[in-house]
Amino acid sequence: MLLRGIISTPLPSLHLKKTNRNVCVSAQTTSINKFSISDQELESRGFILRRTISDLNLDHLNSVFVAVGFPRRDPEKIRLALEHTSSLLWIEYKKTQKPVAFARATGDDVFNAIVWDVVVDPSFQGIGLGKAVMERLIEELLAKGIYNIALYSEPRVLGFYRPLGFVADPDGIRGMVYSRKNIYKKS
């Protein structure tokens, strides 16, 4: 059996696709859209952008996870996971003070990041909140110099990630997950 040695291709050079990411020069000029929905627009619709876990009620977050079909997880384990997550973003609905959208990314903070737990409360889906958290999470990672941003997507949401710039199996790279039962499956 041959070991090639490489499982993840490190980026040899900066490859930053020039998207519509222009700087807002002055308050006088029309604000050029950095994101699909601007921070101001979110605010005016009653949503607050958050980037830390302070003020995040984990039971409420857990409810959102369950509402979208995740198994209910131990809140203390969720806390542990979030404390060891370098980048996260959530949107709070002002009226209820509850989280309605969430996304986080783990990694080594220099080369690689993986996005996990991207969720939008079903009652708030379809209005751009998922896109809002993803765009900002990506921006935060890029600002840290992390350009290798990966995630695992269920087949039914591939269409959500593609417009954001994600490509499935680039160059034939496959996402793989370990399963103990696979050991005994071998012929």
């Binding site: 059996m1 041959l2 070991l3 090639r4 040695g5 490489i6 499982i7 993840s8 291709t9 490190p10 980026l11 050079s13 490859h15 930053l16 696709k17 384990k77 969720i78 542990l80 996971a81 404390e83 060891h84 370098s86 783990t106 990694g107 080594d108 903070d109 220099v110 080369f111 690689n112 993986i114 996990w116 290798n148 941003i149 990966a150 995630l151 695992y152 997507s153 269920e154 087949p155 591939l158 954001l164 710039g165 994600f166 490509v167 499935a168 199996d169 680039p170 160059d171 034939g172 790279i173 496959r174 996402g175 793989m176 997950v177 370990y178 399963s179 103990r180 696979n182 050991i183 071998k186």
Partner: protein
């Protein structure tokens, strides 16, 4: 059916008399799978059993030991302690042909990794002193210690871990060291209760990881990358 090697590697050319001892857990031999032979027969790594996975794995142990006719001993040491010299790592990355990355970033990546597993080769010149089987290894003045393999995992310490940067020195490839590295790091992660272990594999190594228990696109879930080059 063996795959034709795409990368050339040098098989270690030992003197005619080779003794190969495979020590799975350092110094205890309780499992029926592990055994110690003192002759020329090469001992192969028995498949890891569920039983082995449940027993705590030491942080550092001798994976393979080879003795040459002239008495030189080479030990391959596995460690999950993460003690890596960043210059050694850069040299190893050069050897496998990876593009250079800034040393400071390499150091930071290692520091921010949840687990760093390494393989080191320790060559002890004959007569360098008595070597006690009880300790994992002894390095003395004239011993050579070389980083020959590495695998690291990032994690949120609770649910998910992702394995990156699996590499083995080309001179040491073809001996099952990559397999051992991945097996051991997976075992260490499972023992820390990390339920979801994932990785991204180049197409040429998908089979390699499949044989180690990894499944591509489970339930149709796809790995995606943001604007890959």
């Amino acid at each position: 059916m063996k795959k034709k090697p795409i990368v050339c590697h040098h098989i270690i050319n030992f003197a005619s008399f080779i003794t190969c001892i495979l020590i799975l857990r350092g110094f205890t031999f309780t499992s029926p799978g592990s055994f110690l032979k003192n002759n020329t027969t090469q001992v192969m790594d028995p498949p890891s059993t569920l039983e082995e996975e449940e027993e705590p794995m030491p942080e550092e142990f001798v994976l393979i030991e080879k003795t040459q006719q002239d008495g030189e001993i080479e030990q391959i040491i596995f460690s999950s302690g993460g003690d890596v010299d960043v210059y050694d790592l850069q040299a190893l990355c050069d050897k496998v042909g990876w593009p250079r990355r800034p040393l400071s970033k390499l150091a930071a990546a290692l520091k921010n990794s949840y687990m760093v597993a390494t393989l080191h080769s320790v060559k002890k010149s004959p007569g360098s002193g008595t070597y006690v089987l009880r300790r994992s290894y002894l390095t003395e003045g004239n011993d050579q210690k070389k980083l020959i393999g590495l695998a690291r995992a990032t994690s949120d310490h609770a649910f998910n871990a992702t394995i990156w940067d699996v590499l083995v020195d080309p001179s040491y490839q073809g001996q099952g060291l990559g397999k051992a590295l991945v097996e051991k790091i997976v075992r260490a992660l499972l023992q820390r209760d990390i339920g979801n272990i994932s990785l991204f594999a180049d197409s040429q190594v998908v089979e390699f990881y499949r044989n180690l228990g990894f499944e591509p696109d489970p339930e149709g879930i796809k790995g995606m990358f943001w604007y890959p080059r």
